[in-house]
Amino acid sequence: MPKGMFVDTSICIGCKACQVACKEWNALGEEPEHFDYAGGLPVKAKNFTGNSYDNTGALSATNWRHVRFIERGSSLEGNMAWYMMSDSCKHCAQAGCLEVCPTHALMRTDLGNVVVQQDVCNGCRACIGACPYGVISYNKQTGRVNKCTLCDDRIQMGLETACAKACPTDSIVFGEVDQLRVTARQRVQTLKQLGFAKAQLYGDTDVLGGLNVFYLLLDEPEVYGQPRNPQLPQRNLVPGSVWSIGAALLLGLSTLVAFRGRGVRNNGAAGKEA
C-alpha cells in the first residue's frame, strides 16, 4: 500500500516550518542564488521577491518544499483571502520523471515514493522536461538531479516525513494514501458545509493516476499555480511520432514530386542540344 501525504491547505498557516525541517533533515543547505558569498561562506541574503511572503520562488535540487502565497480579493472590500500551499514533489502514480530516465537512477521504492539514486544519475536531465510540475531539478555542484525523497530514510524506518512532523497545525499528514484519501474526502464535505463552495481535492485518483502527495485546495488548481489536467510529455510519444514521421514522409514525397519535373526538363534540354 503506497505511503504519501495529504496536504490540507485550509489549515496551513504559511509558517514554512515544513521548508526548514526538510532542509535540516536532508542537510540541503541554503539556495546558492539567494546569497552573496565571501570566502565560500554566505554573507548576505538578497532574494527578496516582493511576491507576497514567498521569497523562495520555486522548488530546486536543494529546496524540496516551497510554500506558495496567493492573495485574492481586497481588505478594503471585506473579501480578502490569502491561500497558502506547501508545494512539493507529488510522487505521482504515473511519474513522468521515472518513465523517461534512461539510467534507472530514478526508482520507486516498495512504499511508492520516487527517489533519485545519486550514485546512478548521470545528469542527462531528461526527467526535467518530463515533470509537469517543475519539481525535479539539476544541481550544478553535484552534476545530478535531485528532489524530495518522501524522507525515504525516515519512512523506511517507520517514521513520518520531516515536514509532516514539523507542521504545527497537522496541515501535512503522512500515512497510507488510501486512508488519507478517506479523511480528505470527508474534510472536503465538511468545508463545503461550512460555505467553502470551491473546496476540492487535487491529486485524488483523477490526476496522473493519483498523486501520493495530494492536496485539499479552497479554489481552482490554477489559482494555486497547479495544472488542472497535467499531461506527461511522453504520453504524446506515439501520436507525436506518428504526426512527425507522417509529416516528414509527406514533406519528403512533396519534395521528390516538386523536383522530379525539373530534372527531366534539364535532361531533355541537354539531349536536344547534343
Binding site: C15, H34, S75, L76, G78, M80
Partner: protein
C-alpha cells in the same frame, strides 16, 4: 476572538489548538489593522485603525448589556451580580471622563498623576482597627480587615459599578466604531453577535491577545476592557472561556514569575520600595499584604523567600535579612535605564539574551547610550547588534570608549531547565548535549558570577555588602555532572527544590504553598511554583502524561497545578454546573471531602472537578457560605461562597477597578501618544499619565505635526524571524525565508507616493529614517476616520546590521514612550511619513543632526516634561 495578536504568525505552535477548535466548530474572529496569516484562517476579519481597541471593546460592552439576549436570559444577571463587583457602590466623589473632558476625578496636572481615592468603594465601618500591640504577622493582618463594601444587588443605584459602567460606555456605539476605528458597522455587529451567541450556560468564548495590546500607552486598559467583556458574557473561570495572554517569548512567563523585573519579587510580590512604607519587614508586610484575599498569606511567602535567599543567615532577629536589601527608588525599567545611561549615569551593563540595539525603542538613542558605558557584557549565541554596536555602520570605533566583553551562551538544548509558557505551564526540558568550547548556560554564568562576587566581597564590612556575602548559594551537585564535559554546571534539581520550597532544617520538600510559614522554618524561591516538586522523585515539571482534555499530569501549571483559575465561576450561585455541556467545577454535597472536623468526623460536601483539574476555591466552603468580617474575616473568610476571585480583596471579578491601574478605573479611549487624528471621543487627546522622556534625542510628534507625519505605522513580527533576529538572521535557511526588511502598504498609499512593489522606500519620523522594500498589498487598507482618510503601514522589526539577513533597524524611528502601569513601550502605533527612495544618511549621522537641531527652545513644554509617574529620571 483574537485581537492585539497575530497568533498564527507569532505563536504558530499554540495556534495548532485554535485550528483543532475550528475543526470541532469553533468560530474564529480576528480584529486587526492588517490582514495577516491569522486573518487568513479566521471566519471573520474586522479591520480597525491601530490604537482604537478600547472603542471597539467598549462598544461591545454597550452592545452586550443592551442586547435582548443579555437582558432576557437570567444566566447573565446571576453570573454578573454574584461573581463580579457590578453591585458594589463607588464613592460619591467619583467623577467620570464624560464629566471631566476625558479625565477621571483625582488628577493632579502638576505631578501628572491620579490620586485614586475617589475611585474607591463605599464601605461599612471597619470592625477592627490596628492598635500597634499586634505581635505576630497574622495578628497585624487580621487587625487591618477593612469594612465591607456596600452593594445594591438590584443594580439600580446610580453609584453601582454596573450603572457607572453603563454610563461610561453609552457613547461607544457601532457608529462610533465605524467613525473612530474605521471598521464597518456591520462587521462590528457580526463580531458582537458571534460573541453573544457563544456565551451563556451552554457556550463560552475566549479572547486571545499578545503584544498588539500590551505595547500601547493604554495597553493595560485594552486588556481591562476585554476582561469586562468576558465577565459580562459569563466567560471568566469557565472552560473554553477566559482570556489567553500570549507572551512574547518562550518562558518570558517564567521570567516574570521569578522575575528579571526590577519592581517585582518572586510570585508577584512588590519589591521593597524606598518611596513606600517599607522601612522594616513589619512595615513591608503591613503595607503589602491584602488582608481579605488569599494574599493574606503574604507574610509566609515573603519570609520564606528571604529564607531561600539568605539561608542560615536569615533569622527572626535580623528580620531575615530584609534590612540589608536594596530598595527601588523609581522606575528602573528599560527605557528610563537607557535614558540614564545616555546621560552617563550607568557605568556597566550586562545584556543576557537581549539586543536593545535593535529591539529598543528609538534604537539609535539606545546604541548611543551603550557608547556612554564604561563596560558592557553581552551573552548570546552570535555577535548581536548590541555586541557589535561599537563598529556599526556610520561609527568610528575609535570614538567609543566602552569595553565590550562577548561571552558565548549555551543553547536551550545544552542545559536542563524549565520553560513556563503562556498558560502558566512549567515544562522541564533536559540537557541533550554539552555546549561547545566555552559556551555556557545562563545558570552556569549566574552561579559562578555569584560565587566570585561572594569571594570578592568576603572581607567587606560595609552593611550594603551583607546581601552578597550572605546569599545562600549552594547549587552544585557534582554527581549530576559526572556524565558531562562541564563539571561545574549548577544543579537544576537543587534549584527546582528551592523554588518549590522545603522546611529549612531538613530540606524536606513541601507539598505546596499552604505549608509555608512566616517564622523562618520554611524556604521557598517562588511561592506560586510551590508544589511543582512536592516530594522526592516527583518533579512534576518533568511529567508527560497527556489525556484528551486538561492533562493535569503533563507539566505543572502554577499555582498548585490549577489549569483554569477561578473555576468556581463554572458553577452557579448554588454550586450547580451552569450546564451539563460546560460542567467543570461544581459542588457535590454528598462527597466526602477527605478532611475531618474537630471531632474527627469526615466533612461531607466538597467542590469537585470533572477533568481532574486542581480547584482554587476552598474545597469544603459551601456555595452558600456567608461572608465574615472583622478579625474573623481574614483571607478568604471575608468572601462569601459565591466569590470565585480568591486573589481579589472582595473575591469578585472587577468590572470597575478601584485600585491597581494608575490611569483609570475604567478603560477610556485616548489616541496613541502620536496620532494624526484628534481624539473624536474626548477632549483629552492622550493618556494623561503616559510615561514620557522629553530628553534630547527623543522628540515626540505633537498634534501640530499631524500634517508632517500623517501616516499611522505599526511594528510587528513575522513567523520566519525571532524578535531582533539574533537567533534567525544568522541561519542561512531562515535568512533566505525573509531576507530583507520591507514596508507593507496599501495600493492607495503606494499610488499617492508613486511607489511600486519592490521599490526602495524610506519611512521618516522625528527620531530618524528607515529604508526598506515596498510590499504593496491588498491586505493593507486605508481607514476613513470621521470623513478623513488615514493611511496605515506596517514594518517588521527583525532586521539589524549583523547576520546574513541584514537591514535597517525599524526601531530607529520609534520613540521612548510607555504605558504608565508597566512601562511597556508604545511600539504598536505611532505616526510617520513615507517617501520613495533611500535613506538620506546612516543612523548615527541622522542622530547627530537631530541632537544639533534640538535646542531647548525647539522642544515643546509638553515634551520637556518627563513623566515616569515618579519623576525620577529626567534631567533634560
Amino acid at each position: 476572538m483574537i485581537m492585539g495578536s497575530n497568533m498564527a504568525e507569532c505563536h504558530p505552535v499554540a495556534f495548532r489548538w485554535v485550528m483543532k477548535a475550528k475543526e470541532t466548530g469553533a468560530k474564529l474572529m480576528h480584529v486587526d489593522p492588517r490582514f495577516t496569516r491569522t486573518s487568513a484562517m479566521a471566519d471573520i476579519h474586522a479591520p480597525i485603525r491601530a490604537g482604537t481597541d478600547i472603542v471597539f471593546l467598549g462598544a461591545l460592552v454597550t452592545y452586550i448589556i443592551g442586547s435582548e439576549k443579555w437582558n432576557s436570559d437570567p444566566f447573565y444577571k446571576e453570573y454578573v451580580v454574584n461573581f463580579s463587583n457590578a453591585a458594589t457602590l463607588i464613592s460619591g466623589d467619583y467623577q467620570a471622563p464624560d464629566d471631566l473632558d476625558g479625565l477621571f476625578s483625582g488628577f493632579d496636572p502638576n505631578a501628572k498623576r491620579y490620586d485614586v481615592k475617589s475611585w474607591g468603594y463605599q464601605r461599612e465601618e471597619a470592625l477592627v482597627k490596628p492598635t500597634g500591640e499586634e505581635k505576630t504577622y497574622a495578628e497585624m493582618v487580621a487587625a487591618r480587615v477593612p469594612g465591607r463594601p456596600k452593594t445594591d444587588p438590584t443594580l439600580q443605584d446610580p453609584q453601582t459599578v454596573f450603572q457607572i459602567l453603563k454610563r461610561h460606555y453609552a457613547r461607544y456605539t457601532p457608529e462610533m466604531v465605524e467613525n473612530v476605528c474605521g471598521c464597518p458597522k456591520e462587521k462590528f455587529i457580526q463580531v458582537a453577535e458571534t460573541l453573544l451567541a457563544n456565551s451563556g450556560r451552554e457556550r463560552t468564548g475566549a479572547i486571545v491577545y499578545a503584544v498588539g495590546w500590551t505595547q500601547h500607552t493604554v495597553g493595560v486598559q485594552f486588556i481591562r476592557t476585554a476582561g469586562i467583556v468576558q465577565v459580562l458574557l459569563g466567560n471568566a473561570g469557565r472552560p473554553g472561556g477566559g482570556i489567553l495572554a500570549l507572551r512574547g517569548h518562550a518562558t518570558i512567563q517564567g521570567s516574570t514569575d521569578i522575575p528579571t523585573l526590577y519592581h517585582s519579587w518572586s510570585g508577584y510580590i512588590n519589591a521593597a520600595d524606598a518611596r513606600k512604607s517599607h522601612e522594616t519587614l513589619k512595615d513591608f508586610i503591613v503595607t503589602e499584604t491584602v488582608p481579605t484575599a488569599f494574599w493574606s498569606n503574604t507574610p509566609k511567602f515573603v519570609v520564606s523567600l528571604l529564607k531561600a535567599w539568605f539561608g542560615d543567615a536569615a533569622t527572626p532577629e535580623n528580620d531575615f535579612g530584609y534590612n540589608s536589601l536594596p530598595k527601588i527608588t523609581g522606575d528602573h525599567s528599560h527605557m528610563p535605564m537607557f535614558v540614564l545611561m545616555n546621560q552617563g549615569g550607568i557605568k556597566g551593563f550586562i545584556a543576557i539574551g537581549q539586543n536593545p540595539a535593535v529591539g529598543g525603542q528609538n534604537a539609535e538613542f539606545q546604541r548611543q547610550s551603550l557608547g556612554k558605558l564604561e563596560w558592557m557584557v553581552v551573552r548570546d549565541y552570535f555577535e548581536t547588534e548590541t555586541a557589535a554596536f561599537w563598529k556599526r555602520p556610520g561609527v568610528d570605533p575609535k570614538t567609543i570608549p566602552t569595553e565590550v566583553f562577548f561571552l558565548p551562551a549555551a543553547h536551550v538544548a545544552e542545559g536542563t531547565g524549565t520553560f513556563t509558557n503562556t498558560q502558566r505551564l512549567l515544562q522541564q526540558h533536559d540537557k541533550a548535549v554539552d555546549p561547545p568550547d566555552e559556551a555556557r548556560t545562563d545558570q552556569w554564568f549566574t552561579y559562578h558570577l555569584g560565587r566570585r562576587l561572594k569571594e570578592l566581597y568576603q572581607g567587606s564590612t560595609r552593611p550594603r555588602d551583607w546581601p552578597i556575602q550572605n546569599l545562600y548559594w549552594d547549587y552544585l551537585n557534582e554527581a549530576e555532572n559526572a556524565a558531562w564535559r562541564i563539571k561545574d554546571e549548577p544543579s537544576a534539581d537543587l534549584i527546582m527544590r528551592e523554588v518549590n520550597g522545603y522546611t529549612w532544617a531538613d530540606k524536606k520538600l513541601v507539598p505546596g504553598f499552604t505549608a509555608l510559614q512566616d517564622d523562618g522554618s520554611t524556604a521557598c524561591g517562588c511561592w506560586i511554583y510551590s508544589g511543582v516538586y512536592p516530594a522526592e522523585g516527583q518533579n512534576r515539571a518533568a511529567q508527560r502524561e497527556a489525556d484528551e482534555w486538561v492533562s493535569p499530569k503533563w507539566g505543572f501549571a502554577w499555582p498548585a497545578n490549577r489549569h483554569i483559575m477561578y473555576s468556581r465561576a463554572s458553577a452557579d450561585a448554588a454550586g450547580n454546573p451552569w450546564s451539563e455541556r460546560k460542567k467543570y467545577t461544581y459542588w457535590d454535597s454528598s462527597k466526602d471531602s477527605g478532611a475531618k472536623d474537630a471531632n474527627g468526623n469526615p466533612i461531607i460536601g466538597a467542590w469537585v472537578n470533572v477533568a481532574g483539574d486542581a480547584i482554587d476555591f476552598p474545597i469544603t466552603k459551601k456555595p452558600t457560605a456567608t461572608a465574615k468580617g472583622g478579625a474573623e474575616g481574614v483571607g478568604l473568610n471575608f468572601h462569601d461562597g459565591a466569590s470565585p476571585a480568591i486573589m481579589k480583596a472582595d473575591g469578585k471579578f472587577w468590572l470597575f477597578a478601584p485600585s491597581g491601574a494608575v490611569d483609570g478605573p475604567l478603560p477610556t479611549h485616548y489616541e496613541p501618544y502620536e496620532s494624526p487624528v484628534t481624539n473624536p471621543v474626548y477632549k483629552q487627546q492622550r493618556n494623561p499619565v503616559a510615561k514620557t522622556w522629553g530628553v534630547k534625542g527623543n522628540p515626540y510628534h505633537e498634534m501640530a505635526d499631524a500634517a508632517k507625519y500623517p501616516i499611522v505605522v505599526s511594528t510587528y513580527r513575522l513567523t520566519e524571524h525571532y524578535l531582533s533576529g539574533t537567533m534567525s538572521r544568522w541561519l542561512p535557511w531562515l535568512a533566505e525565508l525573509m531576507p530583507e526588511l520591507f514596508v507593507e502598504m496599501s495600493p492607495e498609499l503606494a499610488d499617492e507616493k508613486s511607489v511600486h512593489n519592490g521599490d526602495w522606500v524610506t519611512v521618516v519620523t522625528a527620531r530618524g529614517e528607515v529604508e526598506g522594500r515596498a510590499l504593496v498589498t491588498r491586505r493593507m487598507r486605508p481607514f476613513t476616520i470621521n470623513g478623513q482618510t488615514v493611511h496605515e503601514i506596517g514594518i517588521p522589526w527583525h532586521w539589524g546590521y549583523q547576520g546574513l539577513a541584514s537591514g535597517d533597524v525599524t526601531n530607529d524611528i520609534s520613540a521612548l514612550v510607555g504605558d504608565p502601569n508597566v512601562s511597556i513601550h508604545e511600539g504598536k502605533v505611532f505616526s510617520c511619513d513615507l517617501r520613495a527612495g533611500h535613506r538620506s544618511a546612516p543612523a548615527p549621522e541622522l542622530h547627530q543632526k537631530l541632537l544639533a537641531q534640538q535646542t531647548d527652545s525647539e522642544m515643546t513644554l509638553a515634551s520637556l516634561q518627563c513623566n515616569d509617574s515618579l519623576g525620577e529620571v529626567c534631567n533634560a
